[in-house]
């Protein structure tokens, strides 16, 4: 990684020039990526002042939190309730999915049984079935279970994530059997081995999986749109989409809403970020 030195006095002029070009390119790319966020933030702090201006006023003249207050006090949806729903669904779905895929990964990595490879292939095959085919019957199945418009429906749909099972299996295979066998000799239960040895030894993978599951649940739009139909069950994403349909010209309110839906996931990301690269690398992405 740190194969070349940063101390300028050792560098030839050509190398310094190359470095400047490199920083200019990567910074320009970063600015391009950030422009939509900057525009969103700047607009969300604008109150009565005009938004459609030429040139754009990137720093609001009279920064105000009134747009945020308006989103929170919106009458067409209950912002507090939507926030609670989003958090509740994202957290329960994440816990359920991380547990369920780690447990499956543990079996596929460490406990051989007859027909195991076939079952694993079946899991992998589900990755290739597009949502389009399963979406409509899933809806009618949940309807038949009388679970439409409930948290349970979202949790049940989160039970399997084939990519997650694959990721956990790859990581858990790397843990040496000796640890597990030693624990078993000491009379540890399977649950204890799983929670006290397996999961702690695969922290990067668990962190990657947690971010993936949380992102999936927090950002999901199509599934909640179909399943959570009543006002009290709306998530933040659905609320923001509703706001988008009705806000008309009020960009500042929409942008405040967008900021409020992004903040929680951003915080989660920054918390687990340092584990992610590691987790993905062990995940067997070599193909």
């Amino acid at each position: 990684m740190s194969s070349f030195s940063f101390t300028a006095h050792k560098m030839r002029p050509a190398k310094i020039f190359g470095k400047i070009v490199f920083y200019v390119i990567i910074t320009l790319a970063a600015i391009l990526v950030l422009v939509p966020f900057l525009w969103m933030l700047s607009t969300s702090f604008k109150g009565a002042e005009p938004i459609r201006t030429i040139p754009i006023r990137w720093i609001p003249e009279h920064p105000t939190l009134s747009s945020y207050a308006q989103v929170i006090g919106m009458s067409s949806f209950n912002f507090g309730r939507a926030t609670f729903n989003s958090f509740f669904i994202a957290i329960t779905c994440t816990v359920v999915q991380v547990l369920s895929v780690s447990m499956a990964g543990f079996i596929f990595a460490k406990i051989p049984f007859k027909g195991r490879e076939k079952v694993f292939l079946l899991y992998l095959a589900t990755m290739m079935i597009p949502t389009t085919v399963t979406l409509i019957p899933s809806y009618t199945i949940l309807n038949g279970m009388h679970l439409l418009d409930t948290y349970w429906a979202m949790i049940l749909l989160a039970l399997n994530n084939a990519f997650g099972v694959f990721l956990m299996r790859q990581n858990m295979s790397a843990v040496h059997d000796a640890y597990l066998e030693a624990a078993m000799m000491d009379g540890c239960s399977m649950a204890k081995i799983f929670f006290k040895i397996m999961l702690p030894m695969c922290k990067p993978a668990v962190a990657t999986m947690t971010l993936m599951a949380f992102m999936g649940a927090w950002n999901d739009y199509l599934k909640p749109l179909i399943i959570l139909t009543s006002n009290d069950m709306q998530t933040l994403q659905l609320a923001l989409a509703t706001l988008n349909g009705q806000a008309g010209g009020k960009e500042n309110i929409l942008m405040a809403g967008a900021v409020l839906t992004i903040l929680p996931i951003l915080i989660v990301y920054i918390c687990v970020q340092r584990y992610i690269d590691e987790g993905l690398q062990i995940g067997g992405m070599k193909g």
């Binding site: 966020f37 543990f106 979406l135 899933s138 989409a241 960009e251 993905l280 690398q281």
Partner: protein
């Protein structure tokens, strides 16, 4: 791992596999069969299933006789044609930039990844305004050079391209992260040997990096194509309140038939056609991989 007690082993396997297996069976395997059956029915989901009529291939016939399908397919293809090459090339550039030691590497990585963690709804709400015409930052940027940029989403000729641009912005960081992971797996000795031979950077990229990460490129091409055929969230949120005749994509049709007009049979037929199209393209990709994917290392 060795189990002294087979009964304990059976219990463990069952208990640990059960939750995910419920997901696989109830929400994937059963739905495949059910959805095929639906596609032969005239089924209004608001009424009991016993009221549904068997109509044979009627749903499929109807679907091929109108011009809805070619239109939706064409819009979906447009999205794929704009989005896939752009996102792949830009992500490769991004990963190559990040694949070297420099101060601030971590900060740049977080910046590039932020669009990925943003929800499509939030991203689409922002991009809807970025692509709204005259007053948007994009159009004002072009105006600096005296270019009048199109009104993007409101212009039927540019709407799908606008949506694709937003998707490239959103997904680039994800692809770059996976390319980067693959690049870090490449043995440094290849580059050292190339340096001794006096290879230029582009020779190193096309002769060493690209062939050695081709399995990752292939994996992403396959999964992305499957995902791109099902583009929905971005189109739905960005086009809300705008004329949509130039942006009706396959998934939007399926959603509308199933959950707006409650014609589950028609929707299931659409989804099976889409599935078959995806299947053909996926098989094609697997056939072609022998020509360019390198599994030797």
């Amino acid at each position: 791992m060795y189990f002294p007690n087979p009964r304990q082993k059976r219990r463990t396997v069952t208990a640990f596999l059960l939750p995910s297996l419920i997901g696989v069976v109830v929400f994937c395997l059963v739905p495949i069969i059910v959805s095929l059956a639906y596609s032969f029915l005239d089924y209004d989901v608001l009424r009991p299933l016993s009221d549904a009529l068997f109509v044979g291939l009627q749903n499929y016939k109807q679907l091929f006789s109108s011009d809805e399908m070619p239109k939706a397919l064409w819009h979906t293809f447009q999205y794929i044609l704009y989005y896939m090459p752009l996102v792949m090339v830009l992500a490769l550039v991004e990963a190559s930039l990040l694949n070297r030691a420099f101060r601030g590497n971590g900060v740049y990585r977080v910046i590039f990844y932020t669009p990925v963690i943003t929800s499509w709804v939030a991203a689409a709400v922002v991009w809807k305004w970025l692509l709204s015409g005259k007053f948007s930052p994009i159009n004002q940027f072009f105006a600096l050079f005296g270019i009048t940029a199109p009104t993007w989403l409101a212009d039927p000729n540019w709407a799908m391209f606008g949506i694709s641009m937003a998707a490239v912005w959103k997904d680039c960081g994800y692809f770059a992260l996976l390319f980067l992971a693959a690049m870090k797996n490449i043995d440094r000795s290849y580059y050292e040997a190339a340096d001794i031979d006096g290879a230029r950077w582009y020779q190193k990229f096309f002769r060493i990096t690209l062939p050695l990460i081709s399995p990752t490129v292939f994996l992403l091409l396959v999964t992305t194509l499957i995902g791109s055929f099902q583009v929905f969230d971005s189109v739905q949120v960005m086009m809300s309140g705008l004329p949509t005749q130039a942006t009706t994509v396959m998934m939007e049709r399926i959603y509308t038939y199933a959950f707006k007009s409650y014609q589950m049979g028609t929707a299931a037929a659409w989804s099976w056609i889409l599935f078959l199209i995806i299947l053909v393209f996926t098989i094609l990709q697997f056939r072609l991989q022998k020509k360019w994917v390198n599994y030797d290392v």
